[in-house]
């Protein structure tokens, strides 16, 4: 026993001083992959790209949840009315009382730049890459550029001058400066053109969940329209409208937002089979009064008689003499055995309206009417009575309001680009101020990067 103990203790002492650096070296955790190896094969590089789409769907500006623009800007303008507690985020939007320190604002901002980072990381990873085939590289690169452009497009429309980020280097990005709208639009257009050149016309996802060449052109047409470059806007819209093998207007309004709608240009696929849209789950309610939001009476009462968009895209909920409407573009509130609807980001009807506006602005009234009437007739309305250019432009705006309500903030962006926010909202929104045309830059950002100063006016 004693001998054994002695030997044991010598062994222990030996062990103790057998210093090995390798003991404190560990393997990668099982959920992580080194960044270089991600780009060594298509599957993992593609997974990095797919995650950006998933992030857009689930967080930030384009998510269908309450913080996304469909709901937030619906409340911010005259599309939705917020119910529920005064401290809910809906209420802050509804009252046009956004605070720079609020987490809603910072999460919109942070999520967007995180998405942009992921796109840039992918672009940089592909740049030096020698492992992937050039087709694979073009596909991934094109989509990443497109995604980078989309996010910047919405950021600048919400926050005004913002940094345009094209690299991952945090040392540069942490002191990035704000860039004027014009330059940002230039960068967006350049990214979209490059993406469009890299991507094929065909969809790489049957569900139209990934960007192809035409998705880039569809966004370009909107960018040009916002930029008042009407000829280019009309051209780009025509590229979509003329692709009749891929796209066409659905004749029944109830089919427009179904998964297989021919009208869809780009939509977010769901995370799992059976899931439907987040818009459906937050907008739909089955008994009044509403718990969170309902369609603003200003919008509900604006539809012309016989407009099927009111009967098919709004749903009335009554209780006694009270009546409320909820948006009913998406019919499914919860999961179904197979997914029936995905959140549609870009669809053909918008392209018709873009071209109508662009044509009217350029003086092509006949062409404009033709496009406008396509949308009106589909909704059960007569041809437009508008005769002059001004009347026609106004008619297009009304049509956009009825056609595109609660879809990613069209109403807000349209009023803003046409300088009509005050005129349209002052009378119907008690909290509206001229300065509300821009969101506040998150307060923490001003502290973390003083180059983002000054704060937007009014905050």
């Amino acid at each position: 026993m004693r001998l054994l103990n002695k030997q044991l203790s010598i062994l222990i002492v030996f062990l103790a001083f057998y210093a090995c650096d390798s003991f404190v070296e560990t393997n990668l955790p099982k959920s992580q992959l080194s960044s270089s190896s991600v780009f060594e094969n298509y599957e993992t590089a593609n997974a990095a790209l797919m995650n950006i789409y998933a992030k857009l769907r689930d967080t930030g500006i384009l998510t269908g949840t309450g913080n996304g623009l469909s709901n937030a800007l619906g409340n911010y303008t005259d599309e939705l009315t917020a119910y529920g507690t005064p401290t809910s985020t809906n209420m802050a939007f509804y009252n046009n009382a956004l605070l720079p320190g609020s987490t809603v604002i910072s999460s919109l901002w942070n999520a967007s730049y995180n998405q942009i980072y992921a796109a840039n990381a992918l672009i940089e990873g592909l740049d030096k890459n020698t492992w992937l085939t050039s087709d694979n590289k073009k596909q991934l690169l094109g989509e990443a550029l497109f995604l980078r452009a989309v996010v910047h497009f919405y950021l600048t429309n919400l926050f005004g001058d913002v940094p345009y980020i094209t690299a991952t280097d945090y040392k540069q990005n942490s002191t990035a400066t704000k860039i004027g709208r014009k330059v940002i639009y230039g960068s967006i257009i350049a990214d979209l053109e490059t993406a469009s050149a890299l991507l094929p016309v065909s969809y790489s996802s049957n569900a139209r969940g990934r960007a192809n060449k035409l998705v880039c052109r569809a966004l370009l047409s909107r960018v040009y329209l916002y930029n008042k470059s009407y000829a280019e806007a009309a051209n780009e819209a025509s590229a979509l409208i003329n692709s009749t093998n891929l796209y066409g207007l659905e004749s029944d309004l109830n089919n427009v937002f179904l998964i297989n709608s021919k009208e869809t240009i780009w939509q977010f696929e769901s995370a799992s089979a059976g899931q439907n849209t987040k818009e459906g789950s937050i907008f739909i309610f089955t008994a009044g009064p509403p718990a969170s939001v309902a369609v603003n009476t200003v919008l509900a009462s604006s539809f012309a008689a016989g407009d099927q968009r009111k009967s098919k895209w709004l749903k009335a909920i009554t209780k006694g003499t009270d009546i409320w409407y909820h948006p009913y573009k998406y019919k499914e509130q919860s999961n179904t055995s197979a997914s029936k609807e995905y959140s549609v980001v870009l669809r053909l009807a918008e392209q018709y309206l873009i071209r109508a506006e662009a044509r009217a602005a350029q003086g092509d009234l006949i062409g404009a009417k033709e496009d406008l009437n396509k949308i009106r007739l589909r909704s059960g309305l007569q041809n437009t009575q508008a005769a002059s250019k001004e009347q026609l432009l106004a008619a297009v705006q009304s049509e956009r309001r009825w056609e595109l309500f609660t879809e990613y903030g069209h109403r807000f962006f349209d009023l803003k680009r046409l300088d009509q926010l005050d005129a349209a909202l002052s009378s119907v929104k008690a909290g509206w101020n001229t300065e509300d045309s821009l969101f506040p830059i998150p307060q923490s950002e001003l502290g973390n990067n003083p180059k983002l100063l000054p704060q937007n006016p009014g905050y």
Binding site: I12, V13, L15, A16, D21, F23, V24, E25, T26, L28, P29, K30, S31, Q32, L33, S34, S35, S36, V38, T44, A48, M50, N51, Y53, A54, Y83, T85, P86, T87, N95, A97, L99, G101, Y113, N114, A118, A121, Y170, N173, S174, T175, G209, E269, S272, P289, A291, D322, S334, N335, A430, G431, Q443, S444, L446, G447, N448, P450, L452, P454, G458
Partner: protein, 939 residues
């Protein structure tokens, strides 16, 4: 020679011959020699020998040291202090009892956490200020085990510390200075908490059973408006905003809700009484060479919410010590296994209780069902249908083998193993919604978190002790190898066929794996201690450690730490040896370095992480972080000087210690602008933080006469925290968080000037003079949120069979009041807000009411909530603990029976207006005041 040990009552019997002399000794008492003189019954009274408290051996981790000879700064409490407290968290037992140790409870919900800071905040990284916990020699990782999606009831993710059962603890030692902590090297910067569990003692087999039961209630709520004040505010808001008609959803004033109702929602929703039950038992005993202890305990408590919510905790404890016949070989084995089982609401009701209109409808219909008042409100009780369930099992086992090779040389090794498993679920059933909406279980959802953490540690050591005329020399060398594996699986399920199946993921229509990970942390070290003592007068203690940690990148894994400590027992010098008044005197000091590796694993790697989220049939991957491979160890330098003195046989004993610790090369997640895509980057920051302070302790035996004894313990800590230097602070992302020369825990606030008499809007100092109030340049006033001083005063009184022990805890500090948003919308407000501006000319402390549409007022309110107006004195004196024990005068020699009444947080004196002053955060259930009664039986 024979020996005997007395029972609980002090009775003993012994075989002795008539001429023998009995030697009676007990730790802390003077030894007496009693000649038997043929007597058969001898009454012996032992007298306190306070000096021998200096003989107690203090656990210093790798070694023990006699209290009188210690060179380091170590605070200590024992089971005697712990047993008087009806608490379940180990940190709670230390509150107010240790100088330099500041502990704050973060929620009154059972199973919730505590914040601890030992001698202040060293690291700018707010999550990296935790001490190192060691249970019987085994490091116990205190990193959270919860998941943000499941443990939503707690302010921060579930802490594993709740697994430690205070009742199994014999003593807690807190190591504070460099002399004591440097031997823990890279993990000692924030102090070390050593927990020693109870061990068996040789002698008669002893059974202990105790049982107690009690009740708890929330300490203190905010004072909010009643219906009259509230409705007046609401009506005025509409007038102020020029809105002639109440909106359709303004149910509180448009006639929908009864305007005569008046409910105090805080009492209604959180004013319930929680029931506590506690049962413990143990058997211990053994022979001279082998001792054992087996114990078990069970505790359960309900909550202050209505509904069947429970927090249960049960555990087993086992300890075995054995020495070989020749006393050369020793083995100590101890194991503690604890299970916690909680079933709690998923969400706090504090927020609802503070904001609901006081005339909101009643919770229940007359038939007992939940009242939804025609869909005009979200019944807060429905939220209780969303539940949080957690089951945590935790094992800590440890074996120490030692063998005395030579009289001076001992080889020893410590083997430890820990295993923690936790399983948490949070459900959101469709029943949280108003049934009229017909929301079915197909929209119910649940989140689950399965986290496991296991570790092993091996610490071989060599110990050499030599005593000769040159003095006493002790040498210790050792090594540590530690490996910790953590795994976490986060899942969610939505769409259940029935709400009864909501805990079954297999019954969910959609299951998502939100995270599935395994991480490894490895740690290796060599350490040494050299202790030299000359004539019980001069002592030098040198410690060193070389550490390697897997948390750092290649080439940066190793670092060295060390310290030197000394003590001079001047009372042992000839000129004082026979002093009548000074019984003990020691000056001690130390200087040394420690480090901090609380940065999380793998942070230096550039990787992509799988997200578990699917798009287009592919599970996504995302960049894990902004990476920096070059960060390295944070260095913490500690200095201490202390004077310990005992007077009149140590009846009065005082300690005064001064310390100054500096942390540099701060390892932090430097916040970045969100434009970078991430919130922070891990890097070393050339900033230096100083914690300095003065700690006073006083122990005094005030009164000691026949049957009566009164002893007082007092501790007081003045702590100062200061950012010494931070090159480039102004241009860094910390520019709006810290100020050089100020503590880390400051608030930068706007300065309220008052309410403009004409406009009724708050006005603030326009510091940069640009004519408007804006962030950040006008938000520059600095407010110190660190306590100025804190401490505790404990009194122990005994009279015959009665024992009374009470502790007052106090702190001098400021804190934030609760910001409640702009007053006037459909949300209740602090009652003080009733004194608001109404019309031009009014001089009022609170601004104009608004329904929410007055942007100027809403904005001004947001500045107000970040202004000095919301900083209030939150100093307090609290009767933290009181315990009254009565020992039944039983005739049985070997049996004792005590009746125990205990109270926690019973009285609080404070000027703080918004609830409990101890709280550092708002929006959570305050700590509970608890009263229990129990019985303790020993036989």
């Amino acid at each position: 020679m024979t020996a005997a040990i007395s029972d609980y009552n002090g009775h003993f019997s012994i075989q002795a011959s008539a001429q023998d002399t009995l030697v009676v000794s007990y730790l802390g008492f003077k030894t007496v020699y009693v000649p038997v003189n043929s007597r058969t019954k001898i009454d012996i009274v032992l007298h306190y020998d306070t000096t021998t408290l200096q003989e107690v051996r203090i656990n210093a981790g790798y070694y023990t040291v006699k209290e009188s000879e210690r060179t380091g700064s170590i605070a200590r409490i024992t089971s005697k202090d712990i047993e008087t407290q009806p608490v379940t968290n180990v940190l709670a037992t230390m509150q107010g009892r240790m100088a330099g140790v500041n502990i704050i409870q973060t929620t009154g919900v059972p199973g919730g956490g505590f914040d601890i800071k030992i001698r202040g905040q060293n690291s700018l990284r707010t999550t990296a200020n935790n001490p190192l916990y060691i249970i019987d020699g085994v490091p116990f990782a205190s990193d959270p085990i919860g998941y943000s999606q499941t443990s939503t009831i707690y302010p921060s993710s579930t802490s594993p510390l709740n697994s430690i059962n205070p009742e199994t603890i014999e003593s807690i030692e807190v190591l504070k200075d460099a002399d004591a902590t440097s031997i823990y090297g890279s993990r000692g910067a924030n102090g070390v908490v050593l927990i020693t569990t109870k061990k068996g003692k040789s002698g008669r087999t002893k059974f202990t059973v105790s049982s107690s039961t009690g009740a708890g209630k929330a300490t203190k709520f905010m004072k909010l408006m009643d219906t009259e004040q509230y409705l007046a505010m609401r009506k005025q808001a509409f007038i102020n905003d020029g809105i002639p008609q109440y909106g359709t959803s303004d149910y509180d004033i448009n006639g929908t809700w009864n305007q005569n109702r008046n409910t105090d929602w805080q009492r209604e929703l959180m004013g319930g009484t929680s029931q506590l039950n506690d049962l413990q038992g143990s058997v211990s005993g053994g022979s001279e060479k082998t001792q054992f202890l087996i114990g078990g305990n069970y505790h359960q408590e309900s909550t202050v919410y209505s509904g069947d919510f429970k927090y249960k905790k049960g555990g087993l404890q086992f300890s075995l010590n054995h020495a070989s016949k020749d006393d050369r070989f020793h083995i100590n084995f101890s194991g503690v296994y604890n299970i916690q089982n909680s079933s709690l609401p998923a969400n706090e009701l504090t927020y609802a209780a503070q904001t609901l209109a006081p005339n909101a409808p009643s919770l229940y219909n007359s038939d007992g069902s939940l009242n939804w008042e025609n869909q005009t409100w979200q019944n807060p009780l429905a939220m209780l249908n969303a539940q949080f369930k957690a089951k945590t099992k935790d094992l800590v086992a440890n074996a120490v083998l030692s063998y005395k090779l030579m009289p001076e040389l001992t080889v020893k090794s410590n083997f430890g193993y820990t295993d923690l498993r936790t399983n948490e679920t949070r459900t959101t059933p469709s029943t949280i919604y108003d049934p009229i909406y017909n929301i079915s279980s197909s929209r119910s959802s649940m989140f689950s978190n399965i986290t496991g953490r296991s570790s092993w540690i091996v610490e071989p050591q060599l110990n050499w002790d030599k005593e000769a005329n040159f003095g006493k020399l002790g040498l210790l060398i050792g090594a540590t190898f530690q490996n910790q594996n953590s795994s976490a699986l986060y899942q969610s399920g939505t769409g259940f066929s029935s709400n009864s199946l909501i805990y079954n993921l297999a019954a969910a229509k959609t299951v998502s794996v939100l995270g599935d990970d395994e991480t490894v942390y490895r740690y290796q070290a060599f350490f040494a201690r050299l202790n030299y003592s000359y004539q019980q007068r001069y002592i030098i203690n040198l410690t060193a450690r070389r550490d390697g940690s897997s948390r750092f990148g290649p080439g940066r894994q190793f670092a060295s730490f060390g310290a030197a400590g000394f003590a001079w027992l001047f009372s042992n010098e000839k000129f004082l040896k026979n002093s009548t008044w000074l019984s003990f005197g020691k000056i001690r000091g130390s200087y040394g370095t420690t480090g901090n590796d609380q940065i999380g694993d793998y942070q230096y790697l550039n990787t992509y992480t799988t997200t578990g989220i699917n798009y287009n049939g592919t599970v996504g991957m995302q960049p894990s972080r902004l990476f920096n491979p070059d960060f390295s160890w944070e260095i913490n330098k500690k200095m201490e000087l202390a004077l310990e003195t005992g007077f009149f046989n140590d009846r009065i004993f005082t300690t005064v210690s001064w310390y100054s610790n500096r942390s540099s090369n701060q390892l932090v997640g430097i916040p970045l602008s969100g434009v970078t895509g991430f919130a922070s980057i891990q890097a070393n920051l050339n900033a230096e933080v100083e914690n300095s302070g003065l700690e006073l302790t006083l122990r005094s035996l005030n009164l000691k006469i026949k049957n009566v004894q009164w002893q007082t313990n007092f501790n007081l800590s003045f702590a100062k925290n200061r950012l010494v230097s931070f090159p480039g602070l102004e241009s860094s992302t910390y520019s709006q968080r810290y100020r050089i020369g100020q503590p880390l825990n400051i608030a930068l606030v706007y300065q309220l000037k008052g309410v403009n008499q004409q406009t009724g809007i708050y006005e603030f100092e326009d510091l940069n003079g640009d004519g408007k109030i804006s962030y950040p340049l006008d938000r520059q006033k600095t407010v110190n949120l660190n306590p100025k001083y804190y401490g505790g005063l404990q009194n122990q009184l005994s009279y015959k069979n009665w024992n009374l022990d009470f502790l007052f805890q106090f702190a001098k500090q400021q804190n934030r009041l609760v910001p409640m948003g702009a007053a006037g919308s459909m949300s209740n407000q602090p009652a003080r807000t009733a004194d608001a501006w109404l019309q031009a000319g009014d001089i009022k402390p609170y601004q104009v009411y608004t329904t929410g549409v007055n942007n100027v007022a809403v904005n001004a309110d947001s500045y107000f909530s970040e202004s000095d107006a919301l900083i209030s004195d939150s100093s307090f004196i609290r009767l933290k603990n009181i315990s009254l024990t009565y020992q039944l005068p039983l005739k049985f020699t070997e049996t004792s029976c005590k009746i125990v009444f205990q109270g926690q947080n019973l009285l609080t004196f404070t000027k703080f207006k918004d609830g409990d002053p101890e709280f550092s955060s708002y929006g959570f259930l305050p700590p509970l005041k608890v009263i229990t009664a129990g019985i303790l039986l020993t036989f």
